[in-house]
């Protein structure tokens, strides 16, 4: 399946893009992250959460394929 990954804040700086696509055949968020790390090894050192369909998920969550975003620590307000 073809997935679109969004990067925000510091993470968009590290990847030098705000959104990119990956061809991916795994099931879990953790597997997706391994695929992303192959392209962007520096992300491994960064603190972030993953949102799927705008909800924070864990590494063990199954991928449903919609709206995946990597979010650095929040600093609103």
């Amino acid at each position: 399946m073809r997935l679109t990954i969004k990067y925000f804040g510091l993470l968009a700086e590290v990847t030098q893009c705000s959104e990119e696509q990956f061809e991916f055949s795994g099931m879990l968020i953790s597997e997706l992250l391994e695929t992303i790390y192959l392209k962007h090894p520096k992300l491994k050192e960064k603190d972030f959460q993953v949102a799927q369909n705008q909800i924070i998920v864990t590494n063990e969550t199954e991928i449903s394929g919609r709206d995946i975003a990597l979010l650095p620590p929040f600093s609103g307000g």
Partner: protein, 147 residues
């Protein structure tokens, strides 16, 4: 006020004192209100490693952020006896000394607004995907982290 679609909470740039005044004035027709509480976030000229912050550039995962603001709003209305609630957050550049967040709650009774304002602000800080890039005088930057 329930079950509405998420509104857009974001405003381009700083939130002006005139905007806040106008928002206060609009509540004078709501004569069941006895107490308002307003929280304003202001950009600090923090000094980090001898460099002073000049401004913050805010970005957000806007769709998720507006959905989270909506959830926080619904939760606050169900927890507290509120007549009105308004939340605004800046996107883009906000200079030091300018307002980047405006949270406004109103209730017949004061006890409710104290509890509500703190709940809402803490929820926003913890759960809304907004990202602040602190720009220093020499154009270097760092990414802000809420504490």
């Amino acid at each position: 006020m329930n079950n509405k679609k998420p509104k857009n909470v974001f405003k381009d740039g700083a939130i002006s004192s005139e905007f806040i005044a106008n928002s206060i004035a609009k509540h004078q027709s709501k004569t069941s209100i006895g107490a308002h509480n307003i929280f304003l976030g202001q950009v600090r000229a923090d000094i980090i490693d001898d460099k002073t912050v000049l401004d913050i550039e805010y970005t957000a995962y806007e769709d998720m952020a507006n959905a989270k603001f909506h959830d926080i709003r619904e939760a606050a209305f169900s927890k507290f006896d509120l007549t009105c609630m308004h939340i605004y957050h800046s996107l883009g550049k906000v200079n030091t000394g300018e307002i980047c967040m405006f949270v406004f709650v109103s209730s017949p009774r004061r006890k409710e607004v104290f509890k509500a304002i703190e709940f809402i602000v803490e929820e926003i800080k913890a759960n809304v995907p907004v990202f602040g890039k602190e720009i220093f005088e020499d154009k270097t930057h760092q990414w802000k982290v809420n504490t």
